[in-house]
């Protein structure tokens, strides 16, 4: 079977793959940055004392976590135009990924904050530090250390989730494979190449995760 493997067609379609890779990386980076901002704001509301901030965000997080990403993507793809908002596919995809990852990131950050020992808060309290000072100097720096690995995990998930955008005809990496398959009918070549590129991104992020772990080692150790 492997003797039939056609390397030439992969090389021939390489410009298309690289174009797809470029879009995938671009979408992932933009969506990740926006998701981080969304996640931080959502988390701040989620742990707020005020119900008016807390309850809408709990609803948002539960909706995202209880529905498949593909359904969310379709919702924005078909739903936004009916609301009279016309957005190109790529932006639609970024919005969907941002809101999806944002909800998970909010929960990751919240878990990090909750993981900080109650005694740390009491130490801050008893020395007279106010809420913002306790957050800034004591809780967030410690939460950050435990949050980095799951955040990078979420980044990896986000990169792979961009593949779903091929279903709303965004010209990303998976879409390149689909194009090759429909033009030449060589799915093995097409999707092995696609998989290879995803793995490259994955190992890049994983290296970053391992490096950051070493950097933050003292925060892990207590």
């Amino acid at each position: 079977m492997l003797t039939d493997f056609n390397f030439r067609v992969i090389l021939e379609y390489m410009p298309l793959f690289l174009e797809g890779l470029k879009h995938t990386v671009f979408i992932a980076i933009i969506a990740l940055v926006l998701a981080l901002i969304t996640g931080i704001i959502a988390c701040a509301c989620r742990i707020s004392r005020f119900k008016i901030l807390r309850y809408p965000v709990i609803t948002y997080i539960e909706i995202i976590r209880s529905t498949p990403l593909l359904v969310q993507i379709y919702f924005f793809y078909f739903g936004l135009p009916t609301l009279g908002v016309s957005v190109p596919e790529i932006q639609t995809g970024i919005i969907a990924l941002m809101l999806n990852s944002g909800a998970y990131i909010a929960e990751i950050i919240r878990a990090g904050i909750k993981s900080v020992d109650q005694g740390q808060i009491e130490a801050g309290l008893s020395s007279g530090l106010n809420y913002v000072q306790r957050m800034r100097f004591i809780i967030l720096p410690q939460a950050f250390g435990v949050t980095i690995p799951p955040l990078l995990g979420q980044a990896i998930v986000l990169v792979k989730d961009t593949a779903l955008l091929s279903l709303i005809s965004v010209a990303e990496l998976t879409r390149s494979g689909q194009t090759l398959t429909s033009e030449r009918f060589m799915p093995t070549e097409a999707f092995l190449t696609v998989a290879f590129f995803y793995m490259c991104i994955y190992f890049g992020l994983k290296t970053l995760a391992d490096w950051s772990q070493k950097k933050l080692i003292f925060r892990e150790a207590y």
Partner: protein, 242 residues
Amino acid sequence: MIEFKGVNKWFGKLHVLAEINLFIPKGEVLVICGPSGSGKSTLIRCINKLEPIQEGEIIVNEMSVHKPSTNLTKLRGEVGFVFQQFHLYPNMTVLQNIMLAPIHVKKIAKADAEKIAREKLERVGLSEKAAAYPIQLSGGQQQRVAIARNLAMSPEIMLFDEPTSALDPEMIGEVLDVMVGLASEGITMCVVTHEMGFAKKVAHRVLFMDEGKIIETGKPGAFFDNPKTDRAADFISKILTH
């Protein structure tokens, strides 16, 4: 200095502080002891409002602690608190741990705060550990840093919640030595501890609690050698014969 007036506190149905009336004058070293669950930690945690109370009033330096209008930052700046588990900030060096509150609560300039911090570190005998992280220190050293961190705020009152209970036996002495030094300087101290040697040596008064009530108070010599109540006698015999 510190006054409890008819204080009652419940954790759910558990009556953890029952009708506490207590006056601690300026400069007194008070040792609080009693069996586990008797409310002694809760008692001192109420003094700087780490815990709310349901009834009564606690007055510290003329401030009513649990009144919503009380300036808690000011109150907590005057009251130090040393925890059983030290609770140093692991993301900061020893020096940064000590400087944090003076800079951000007392608004002392950074250079001055550092000077104070080094002074207090020397006081607890750990000058050479200024740049270390808490995890690199032994338990006894961590607790001494925690004491220095409190001293940097120049508190008038220091509260100690079982400061030596989490320590290995050979480290208890170094922490107690620092506390004995403080006691001789006229800082008001409330110490929850079972270290009877410390109580006999420096305490002005011993307070025995059980089931949320103050059962007995007295001079340390009289209390340990000649307790007035059976419950105190029973408790003392248990801690001395373990």
